[in-house]
Symmetry: D2
Subunit: 433 residues, 4 copies
């Protein structure tokens, strides 16, 4: 198999995060700083911990991915970004109450030095928040210009060879794809005409990043980088993009249990999912507009995995309901409870109940790290446009209009690993040995 040409990983890698003071970003940054001085384990991160089997099973070659795939070194990362609140990342992390103070204090200096650039904020898109550290009111075109200038300045000040931009901010209200999103030229006109209702703040960030040659990662379920206009731009600029909606708690479970049902040909009558969470994410999702965006992202999973059109007897009549409840006593410690009504042999019913006492940001942080490193790898491989091989990380993987996304966690994982094998010129696996 032919090896992909990969540019060298040397030099500084700038990581600019939208929502750099949020719970996810601050947990990601603090952890990365701790890991690189040997003060923490990057559990959850494939780039840092996973091995990859090369060759036959009995060849016994299981090197660490980071030892055979040319990834950027953690020591070369420089963090920065935007936020609509002015706290530095240390203060923000204390407020988030995810990591213990004693753990934050290990990297306090590094965190305090990261001070957010004022963010683009439009309350029509995030109704439950009130940004206090925002750019002056401007047109959509002005916003993209200012963001591009931010990226250029950051790159220069920090002597970065490459920059990756990641969205780790709030879920915006639900909007549908419209004609302004259908092509780059239409999108550019909409920018110029300041059509604020169809161009969300997150699209401004994506447009700016791609225009500056920076891969863009969409961590929330917002309609953003998958619109044809931005994919067109990404291809034109030779920039990889990926998204959307980090696969953290309940959907992670769903993309494991649903494939289990399907591989075993067990039927499904209903799936009821409820969540309680008390962080800013929960507060934002308490708004019906933002919830709608999240709900759409969460609902498609089961149908796509189970293929009711192929298996109408087993999956033709599923009642799937997802609820998210803002529940402050829990803070960042999200809890997801699922009830799953299964049918087996001759239609006899069974039930599966899953209670996941998880931590939103703890699960998201290693995904951020992997996505930054793999997006940078993709850039250096010359991959551009949608990176479907990174679907593993997302609740709602972006995809071409004429294909269905892959939601099965294990197939996603096989694709990820086999892509890495292809990049380094190793044979892919079909497990028949």
């Amino acid at each position: 198999m032919e090896k992909v040409e990969v540019k060298d990983a040397g030099g500084k890698l700038g990581v600019m995060i939208v929502g750099v003071g949020g719970a996810v970003a601050s947990t990601f940054i603090a952890g990365t700083l701790a890991v690189r001085i040997g003060k923490g384990l990057a559990a959850g991160s494939i780039t840092q911990l996973a091995t990859i089997r090369l060759g036959k099973r009995n060849a016994n070659r299981f090197p660490k991915i980071k030892d055979v795939v040319p990834l950027a070194d953690l020591g070369d990362i420089v963090f920065g970004g935007w936020d609509i609140f002015e706290e530095n990342v240390y203060e923000a992390a204390l407020h988030a109450e995810v990591l213990k103070k004693e753990d934050l204090d290990i990297v306090r200096d590094g965190l305090e030095s990261i001070v957010p650039i004022p963010g683009v904020f439009d309350r029509e898109f995030v109704r439950r928040l009130n940004g206090t550290h925002v750019k002056p009111q401007g047109t959509r075109r002005e916003y993209t210009e200012r963001l591009r200038a931010d990226i250029r300045r950051f790159r220069k000040e920090n002597k970065c060879d490459r920059v990756v931009v990641m969205w780790a901010a709030s879920t915006e209200v639900y909007i549908s794809q419209s004609e302004e999103h259908a092509s780059l030229s239409a999108f550019e006109r909409a920018l110029d005409n300041d059509l604020a209702a169809v161009i969300s703040p997150s699209m401004c960030y994506a447009y700016a990043a791609i225009s500056e040659g920076a891969p863009f990662i969409m961590g929330a379920p917002n309609l953003c980088v998958e619109i044809p206009a931005l994919v067109e731009l990404a291809k034109m600029e030779r920039v990889p993009v990926c998204g959307k909606d980090y696969k953290t708690g309940q959907t992670l479970i769903k993309t494991v249990i649903a494939p289990m049902l399907k591989t075993r040909m067990l039927g499904l009558d209903g799936w009821f999912s409820t969540n309680i969470l008390g962080n800013r994410d929960g507060e934002v999702l308490d708004d019906p507009g933002s919830f709608r965006t999240k709900e759409v992202s969460k609902l498609s999973v089961i149908d796509t995995i189970l293929q009711p059109q192929i298996y109408p007897e087993l999956y033709g009549n599923i009642y799937h309901k997802v609820r998210i409840n803002y529940y402050p006593p829990r803070k960042d410690n999200k809890e997801g409870w699922d009830n799953i009504d299964i049918t087996g042999w001759l239609g006899y019913p069974m039930q599966l109940k899953i209670d996941f006492l998880c931590r939103d940001s703890i699960l998201a942080a290693p995904l951020c790290l992997d996505l930054v490193l793999f997006s940078d790898l993709a850039l250096r491989c010359g991959f551009s446009g949608m990176q479907t091989w990174l679907s593993f990380y997302f609740k709602s993987p972006i995809h071409d209009e004429d294909s269905v996304p892959e939601h099965d966690l294990f197939i996603q994982h096989t694709i990820l690993k086999n892509t890495l094998r292809r990049i380094i010129g190793e044979p892919t696996l079909d497990y028949l040995d």
Copy 2:
């Protein structure tokens, strides 16, 4: 890819079950009879319901497995077998209280006509039961001879072209592998010397089946068909064998959740599994000797999947405990409760709790059907010895001493499907399209 030569599936297929009056067997038989007259859905059965992707994803070829793989037709199956209680299968099924009377009555005649042959019983191996319909006391060699005669008679009386023998009886007490199991000649000597302590009743059945050219399936966790002596015999006689311990409730979940943790590189501190069940299986497992056999079968799963030797930081110190509790109020409606202590980013703890209200026999029955049909397929393909491509169906897949079993449900599934593709001469998949 070269196509395997497969003999024709025509003619009658005899299915002889050890424990034909048990809850699993009677549920399997009743369902199969109902399905073949169009009165029930074989949910849980891959041979009956699953499709297989052939070619590239966009080729859109998803035929049903049974339409492209030459499997025996359900209409050609003839059921029979042994039991240590004398009830016919209809009476036995009523007592088991798994299927509703109204469902059993649909196939009452077919069930009543199946009357068990007296079984081989040795109370030293199943202490909680008291068989009342057993063969006269004999030496181990005499037992195997009588069982072979049973098979020959059944085959002749029912004009079967081929016979498959399946163990769906109790878990025997724990025994370790000993020198008598190490080679066929040693085993034969032990048979002749009637070394009852090392040759279990289930080994007598396996020996008899293989000697008669019948594939043997071990559904319980007994030490049996994987001993070198019987594998040697199977290869000599060109007979496929598989096992062991049907993967039904809690372990099914385990082989899905553990791979999820590993693909996501989440750490594991502890896994506590408890079961409550009230059927005869639960009663037998209330005996410490039988429980030990089951426990060994259940415990190995996590270590084999998580590879603590490769990932000591994540999986080097797991506390894994499995409890099975006989709890009569539940009858066949087993409940498994798992508590899983996970660690994420920087070692922060999370918990996952899974409550599976399942039905033992409802989950096992479709496995029986698939294993019968695939074992018969393997026989006709000329495969012999251990069939590791059927690991998908077992809690504790049998394997060569110098290899580790594959426990990950999704890799097992890929192996199963890719083996079928190979049998019919189609390219295997690596998902990179």
Copy 3:
């Protein structure tokens, strides 16, 4: 202690149910008919099964309540009532899928003979249903007259000495108490002026029942019999009334766990309750107006029990959320999941999670029976107006405006038993012996 004068329980007791074809009513009726011919156990019913301690603990007097308290005999009950669907009670019970057909068939004749009288229906009050067996459109005054005529006719045709009317129909949309409810005279004017927005159908039934001297039981959370106008009427007519909202699944648990926290002085940070249910009740509650009525009924419980004003440090800041989800796969088999965030010594947090796989109508049926018999007892005792001693049975016990309701199940139970002791002239208990 002076014994209460109780009229004799002899003669026929008519039980007229609003919603006689609903799941609750049909389960109640079928069970009562079965119990009175010795074909079923009235589990859940205090009048049929419970004992009462009389005298000191060591006196060892524990007679059955029904042996010492003069209750009506089950054999004297005649069932009837109204429904907005025309099925007889046998057909309705089959549709409800609560009791098995084989259990219903035992009393089939009795159930088939109960054919509903057309009901009063106003879609403004129950938006998700579409009644097809309803009285002709009329004014509120006309409705009450027709209902009174129904009661008189039923009483006469069935030669009943006494009649009890019970609401076992849907939850109506939320309405607040208004000036029309403040006195009987205002209410009568509103009836005459047909103020349909403030006089619900359930109020028409209550008004009619009380006017005919029949005790009225409100099983749903509707604003109804507790309004001053109807209490005034009840006192004037010497009729007892009680309500509201049968305490069946989740709230039953709540009125047990909250008192446990309080007696142990454990703090409470949050209580999240979610329900899934798929019967008609669930469908009606999917309408926000009806849900609001239910929510108000369910929310007050915790505050009333925990008294945050007295214990601000423990209960001053509770986040209490109740969700009800229509989930058809479950039919009548409701499931309630509660997560309770507790604090203990020095404020350390703990969690309690309760999953109740219950059956709505199975839990409600024995309450119906007890309430009918105790309401009839109260009538014969000369008690009139609100019967707070029956609070035990209700989620949201009706009460005078200047008192707080008692929600603690165990205090409610003590009150119920001590009231019975008082009725039969026995000393009440304080447990100090």
Copy 4:
């Protein structure tokens, strides 16, 4: 009602704890020290937080118990005691990992000053521990003499007016009551004859305490202070004693849910309770002998509450199983999972599942405080022998042989409160107002 004569609460109150370095004791002590300087809330403590209703409901008199009942002041308590490990209480509390270091540091000096007296240790009674700070080997009589000397010395050195002795050490192996326990004279002979197999270390402590006029509290399920010999001694010495086995996690729930079932006349088919815990308590209970003692304590609860002899149809055939599993990943954070199989109307089954993520020592600490203060109160009231009014606090309340214990938490609570009312000369409540 006549008021009890209560001696004044003034002067120092010595609290000597057996197992003073254990998780329960160190949490109790640290919390008490913090509370008395206003640095913590004594949640869980009735003496510190609860109010008591005096007079009619509408009289609105709800004073705090500690304001109307003459309890010792927290400021007057002096802590001390024995342990078989030599760490001071600060070190021990750090090891226990119950309270956070930052919380312990608030009262560090106070904790460090408490250094355990060497304990009496006999490995025959606690097989999983290996005491390293123990009294020299001696006869049982010698042990009691040394313990009495310890108490006298402590009382003198700390100028205590009164001393209470509390057992917060391990569960001993199961022993049955024998003739040596039947009378004080027999017990004294056994002491003199050093019959070590029937006189446990905990009995030595109890004997010593009572002989020194100190109330004794048994917090573990050991056979100890309830034996006739020690009750006889307690009455002779005018000393109150109470026990046994603090009602903390799962049994607390059981004594709430079982009464709920009974007051509602719901049937019970089975109750399965499993626990996972990882502290020293869990380690000790991993020994079958100690587990047996605990099991007996836990099993009696349900039968005593549900009275199967009175309600054979509902409770005549309950399958009750209790499991305790040592599971180190959890440390002191015990988890109890209960599955409860209920039956309702006509015998239809329902299930209740309760998962209690609790903290053993956090739940036990306030019980310790209340029991110390109430035992001291009882002493000053002149109460002697078994204090059944304190049953509220115990899993297995000690009781006379000819009476049954009260297990219902709410009746226990009523008894506790009504006893306090009696002590201060207020009328008791029957809730009929």
